[in-house]
């Protein structure tokens, strides 16, 4: 049993995008605020703060979760992947390029969360179906694009990652 009193700052150690990081957090600090304010990774956005919009979605030990419904203390000792880790050394990753190419974002507020969910979907299986993409996308709200370009971008990104350039251009 480990007790952290209200207001008490406890050291939280995580692996953020492959890099060991640690910072202090009080019990009530949400993982979303910890990532942004304590670790300085502001690519993860904070929208509704009650789990509905999906903007704050990050990968915790590999799987997409709502950072606003997770406490910073609950992430201690775990791996966190955020949008900052998605770009490769040469710039944007295949998923990000496909989003730009297919106009899958306008204001971009929801995009980091969607990309974290979709990166996991494509890792789980390189050939996601449109239904699978829509199923995962149901956990996110986008008020600009109307979803169709997002679905198209994810399918194209998966194709590009498989080296299936013809589908990627479709």
């Amino acid at each position: 049993m480990k007790r952290s009193a209200a207001g008490e700052q406890t050291l939280v150690a995580v692996v953020l995008n492959g890099v060991r990081r640690s910072a202090r957090a009080e019990p009530r600090m949400l993982l979303s605020d910890f990532i942004r304010q304590r670790l300085g990774a502001t690519g993860t956005h904070v929208g509704c703060e009650h789990g509905v919009c999906g903007a704050c979605t990050v990968r915790l030990d590999g799987v997409p979760v709502r950072a606003c419904l997770t406490l910073a203390l609950q992430a201690d000792g775990r791996r966190i992947d955020t949008i900052e880790g998605l770009a490769g050394p040469g710039g944007m990753g295949a998923l990000q390029l496909a989003f730009r190419r297919h106009h899958a974002l306008q204001c971009g507020f929801c995009t980091p969360g969607i990309l974290m969910s979709m990166s996991e979907l494509i890792e789980r299986g390189p050939r996601p179906t449109e239904d699978e993409v829509r199923e995962v996308l149901a956990g996110h709200l986008c008020r600009c694009t109307g979803y169709t370009p997002i679905v198209r971008a994810v399918l194209a990104a998966a194709a590009a990652m498989r080296g299936d350039e013809e589908s990627a251009d479709a």
Binding site: R3, A5, P27, G51, V65
Partner: protein
């Protein structure tokens, strides 16, 4: 919004949670997946002084088949149950219902027992537990007890769990030989709460039918094998018995309509799945 301040206690064994629940009473709340509780705290609809975090309690993170049931510990996520090998054969109703429970990103942290504890009348898992006549295992410093689903759910967000009790696990009966199972619901958007949800088990001697999202808790009824107009009449009488109310999402009449329509489809599908 952000939650009000609280003490956080990382629980290593169920006894620790029970001792703190006994000492702190209503001021302490159990935090498992947090997919409802954290939203409630963020909106400051509740402000407990202490959170008992069982999300990493090994003894509660147990998923196994035992005594003809699937035993699901309090820390087991909905995603883990959904990925249980052979779930379609072990507990077909759960396999059909889980994809409707919120969204993938929520199921990755949300627990089965947490949904049971919250007892939202529209939630799929309380409906499945009621339909299958499952059990809830409760534990406190006073001892352990097991309640049948229908005794556990007492009304809108209300259960028989006392303030000093921890839900340790739930047990879903494994599929009966030859029986057919069907689940269906209608929600405005995939992953939203159901306007109405139905669960059906058809076996050699009869039909067990349950509906959620209509009354203040999931309700079940047992019928002999019915079909045609006799089934329509039974569904209609059951729909009217649920005490449906109008709300911003749907009218009472529409919810009764859904029970009749989804219900009929589910009974037919479950009957087709019998062997």
């Amino acid at each position: 919004m952000k939650p009000a301040a609280f003490d956080h206690v990382r629980i290593d064994a169920p006894e620790e949670a029970c001792a703190l629940l006994a000492a702190e009473g209503d001021d302490a709340r159990v935090l498992a997946g947090g997919q409802t509780l954290m939203a409630v705290l963020n909106m400051r609809l509740a402000a407990p002084r202490m959170l008992l975090d069982i999300s990493r309690t090994p003894e509660l993170d147990v998923l196994r088949e035992e005594r003809g049931t699937l035993y699901i510990g309090a820390a087991v996520t909905q995603a883990r149950v959904g990925a249980y090998p052979g779930l379609e054969r072990a507990v077909p109703l759960l396999a059909q219902a889980l994809p409707h429970v919120a969204h993938l990103q929520i199921r990755n942290r949300g627990t089965v027992c947490g949904s049971i504890a919250h007892a939202d009348p529209s939630a799929e898992l309380p409906l499945c537990l009621t339909a299958l006549e499952g059990e809830v295992l409760l534990r406190s410093v006073r001892g352990q007890r097991t309640l049948a689903a229908e005794a556990f759910f007492q009304g809108m967000l209300t259960t028989a769990c006392a303030h000093d009790e921890l839900i340790e696990a739930v047990r879903f009966p494994l599929a009966a030989a030859g029986a057919g199972y069907a689940f269906d619901e209608l929600a405005v958007r995939r992953g939203d709460f159901a306007l109405a949800a139905v669960a059906c088990i058809v076996h050699a001697d009869g039909i067990r039918f349950a509906a959620g999202g209509v009354g203040d808790r999931p309700r079940a009824i047992d019928w002999p094998r019915l079909e045609g107009s006799a089934l329509d009449d039974a569904l209609n009488a059951f729909a009217w018995s649920l005490d449906a109310h109008d709300d911003t999402q749907a009218s009472a009449a529409y919810r009764r309509h859904l029970v009749r329509v989804l219900g009929r489809r589910a009974v037919i599908r479950a009957a087709e799945a019998t062997t």
